[in-house]
């Protein structure tokens, strides 16, 4: 039996990017807030120790900072005719845990989605006709880019994003992304100093008429003091970014941008090593009254609150809704239900160029130091003559040269022995790689629900992921691979190796921790789990914040949009919900 604690105004599940932003905004509004985090307390000064942070085996291979499958995993299958089995180790994606969440060990690519990404269904229907998207279940967000613009700006200034604007108040800017939506002002910091590989990539792309620009980066180009008064340092291009905590205070995360202020507030409490099991609803099932969690010793507690914010990783938000009975679980056979619907991912492919006469020093790198070509992303180009919708950013962002994971050799090289060793030594410094990060569009058969067989350590059903790359996305990815090969040829390598995206999705090799959907936002309570303010249609004192709200995924990293949605939801709670608690949009 759970022991009941004194009530709080707000309980937040998960203390990563979104939890920290919501906690800061709502404590500023005077509310008494507790965040319950299943992982440990972590901070730069104690845990991301410069003396042993650069440890590839510990952090990248054994993944010391990540959620461990023993704690929670998912089952997976490619189609609903297969039997889902547990991912006994994580591979394709790597969820985080602990204070800071996956924002602790992200790379820092910080994008705004295109305006046309937000009204995607109406936009594509109008431009290409409904038949073009008949195989897809893509939706509008119920929220426009223009409405979200100031929230993007706040996240970028909070995090000290380093980049070059492409469109300020309608005026195109030299050196920026000419395809981006209108922004009101420049990035807070200039773009990072470019290393050799992205510089050469940009030359090649430009030579064939493409428009490369510096990738917007949460690895700071300069020292910075953010609007909360928190000081951050310049990135040293150490090459230990993704999968690692930053020891330099130069990668934006909750630790480096919010927690030093948030943690000192008397009306905020962080409760760590405490895993929320479910949200408790009242007898009407239309109001949440508390959450139940279990602490590190196995003891159960009930925390009552007026407002419950699900700020866990997107997949875990969806699972908590399913385990709590918030909304109806999606059933692909009937097309009914909303929770678990429109699970999407990312459709990636890559190219490697082998040179004889170049030295790229691949270890001089940071998570988001690079160049991007957005000419073929989203609907930046006319799809009239192609057989797909969507697109991909083409990114040359060589994040590291860590040698357990990074040892490029030409295909056909033996995997061991003297010939292997010779090829490894010859090619380590002289390979240029770049990749496409493609959109992932929703289909009826890609979804999340609860597994009928496998359970977690508390006996709760694991979430079951049913996913394969839609045919539309495979066609898109191949077409963008053709464009990547054009860039590759322009650079005249000794050898070019193109790794194209193929079915079926394989859960083993790492691809992307950009899992979206499952609790999507929208205008129709039959097709979306939350409204345009990320408020549950079914239980209005529950807000669900994260990439779980994306109706489909764009060809861009999600964190910029996740951060913007956190500010957007915080505004709605403070300015609308608190004045008149209840549904902010009538169903």
């Amino acid at each position: 039996m759970a022991r009941k604690l004194p009530p709080k105004d707000v309980v937040i599940v998960g203390l990563g990017w979104t939890g920290a932003i919501l906690a800061h905004e709502l404590t500023e509004a005077g509310l008494d807030v507790v965040a319950i985090e299943r992982g440990p307390w972590r901070d730069t000064a104690t845990d991301f120790n410069i003396g042993y942070a650069p440890d590839e085996l510990r952090y990248s291979v054994r993944r010391d900072l990540f959620l461990q499958p023993a704690q929670e995993t998912l089952t997976m299958r490619n189609t609903s005719s297969q039997t889902a089995l547990p991912m006994r180790d994580f591979g394709s994606f790597l969820p985080g845990t602990g204070v800071g969440g996956a924002g602790t060990h992200w790379n820092g690519h910080t994008w705004r989605f295109f305006p046309s990404d937000f009204n995607l269904k109406s936009h594509l229907t109008e431009r290409y006709g409904a038949a073009r998207i008949a195989d897809l279940t893509i939706e509008d967000w119920g929220l426009s880019y223009d409405e979200l613009e100031s929230s993007y700006d706040r996240f970028e200034y909070l995090a000290g994003i380093s980049g070059k604007a492409g469109n300020i108040q309608g005026k195109l800017q030299d050196g920026g992304n000419p395809f981006e939506g209108v922004r009101q002002r420049e990035y807070p910091l200039p773009a990072m100093q470019m290393s050799y590989a992205p510089t050469l990539f940009a030359e090649g792309a430009r030579s064939i008429g493409f428009h490369p620009f510096p990738t917007p980066s949460a690895n700071l180009s300069k020292a910075y003091v953010n609007p909360l008064g928190i000081a951050m340092g310049q990135c040293t291009a150490c090459g230990f970014c993704e999968r690692f905590g930053c020891a330099n205070y130069s990668k934006a995360s909750a630790h480096t941008t919010i927690l030093p202020v948030l943690m000192r507030k008397p009306n905020f409490e962080a409760r760590c090593n405490s895993e929320v099991l479910h949200v408790n609803l009242d007898a009407t099932r239309k109001m949440a009254k508390s959450v139940t969690y279990v602490d590190a010793s196995g003891e159960e507690w009930e925390q009552p609150a007026d407002l419950v914010l699900l700020c866990a990783y997107g997949l875990h938000n969806a699972r908590l809704m399913m385990l709590s009975g918030i909304g109806k679980v999606y059933d692909p056979s009937t097309g009914e239900g909303t929770v678990g619907r429109n699970y999407c991912y990312q459709t990636n492919a890559g190219v490697q160029l082998f040179f004889d006469d170049k030295n790229f020093n691949p270890f001089i790198a940071s998570g988001a130091l690079g160049q991007t070509v957005d000419d073929f992303n989203g609907d930046a180009f006319d799809h009239g003559s192609v057989d797909f919708v969507g697109g991909a950013g083409i990114n040359c962002i060589p994040t590291n040269g860590r040698p357990i994971g990074y040892r490029p050799v030409p295909p056909g090289t033996p995997r061991w022995g003297s010939a292997w060793k010779k090829a490894t030594a010859e090619n380590y410094l002289s390979v240029l790689g770049f990749s496409s990060q493609g959109s992932s569009y929703a289909t009826r058969g890609n979804y999340l629900d609860l597994d009928p067989t496998y359970t977690d350590r508390f006996g709760r059903p694991l979430m079951r992921m049913t996913f394969d790359f839609p045919d539309n996305d495979i066609r898109m990815s191949h077409w963008v691979s053709d464009r990547m090969e054009e860039i590759g040829k322009a650079l005249k390598p000794r050898q070019m190796v193109s790794s194209r995206r193929q079915k079926s999705w394989n859960s083993v090799p790492y691809q992307s921790t950009h899992n979206t959907g499952g609790a999507i936002m929208g205008t129709d309570p039959k097709k979306s789990a939350v409204n345009r303010y990320l408020q549950s249609w079914d239980v209005p004192n529950v807000f669900v914040i994260g990439a779980s709200a994306f109706p489909q995924n764009a060809g861009k990293n999600p964190t910029g949009t996740v951060g913007a949605l956190a500010f957007w939801a915080a505004d709605a709670i403070r300015d609308k919900y608190l004045r008149n608690p209840g549904a902010l949009v009538s169903a």
Partner: protein, 250 residues
Amino acid sequence: MSTDSAFTATRRHFLTSAAAISLVTVSTHVRAQSISGVLPWQPFAAEPPTPIGPQGWVFFTPAEAAAVEAIVDRLIPADDLSVGGKEAGCAVFIDRQLAGSYGSSSRLYMKGPFLPGLPTQGYQGKETPAARYREGLAAIDAYLRKTMNGRSFVHLNADEQDQFLKTMEAGKVDLGGGINATRLFDLILGNTMEGFFADPIYGGNRDMVSWKMIGFPGARYDYRDHISKHNQRYPLGPVSIAGGRPEWSR
């Protein structure tokens, strides 16, 4: 490297908990780690890695150790580019990994039922890496003794050893006991490469031999003065997280 499971209370959790409780303005209970009104900090709160001593075997029996040393010396043979896998410490590395949390799969999802899966579903076996080495090395030994006139892997000449490893890699040998030879080979090869390229603090990559071979500077952590020196070789040699001796920087 921490060897405890990922979510039980560890020493550092206890320390930060205790610190937080002594300083906080509000503490509703003691079991969960409650922090409010303060940014907690304690000296030595985090867990540094534990350096590996090269002496003795923790997991392997002497016969297993001899076999693994011989295998890693063929996977990474001594030549003009580097010392071999044995001298680099790869077998010591694997031994210590198998004795720790990696070897026991303590961080993985290990609940049943265990069913054969599709390739896209990943490894579905019940056996931990430690068990796979123990059973796999015994099966290799039994197979070779039966087919190679009573000789073990260590008694084969280099060509015979390479030939056997190639048949394992290709899955063209039946080791019995339901052991998938290709998967066993992949496991050993993967761990050997981890040992050869990981920081030397874990027992392999002795004297940073692999990093010197490819030109990886290790744990230097600050390349700002070289970012814009395009196409120019980085001038400094590697350092380990255990520090550097003067000759390592030449």
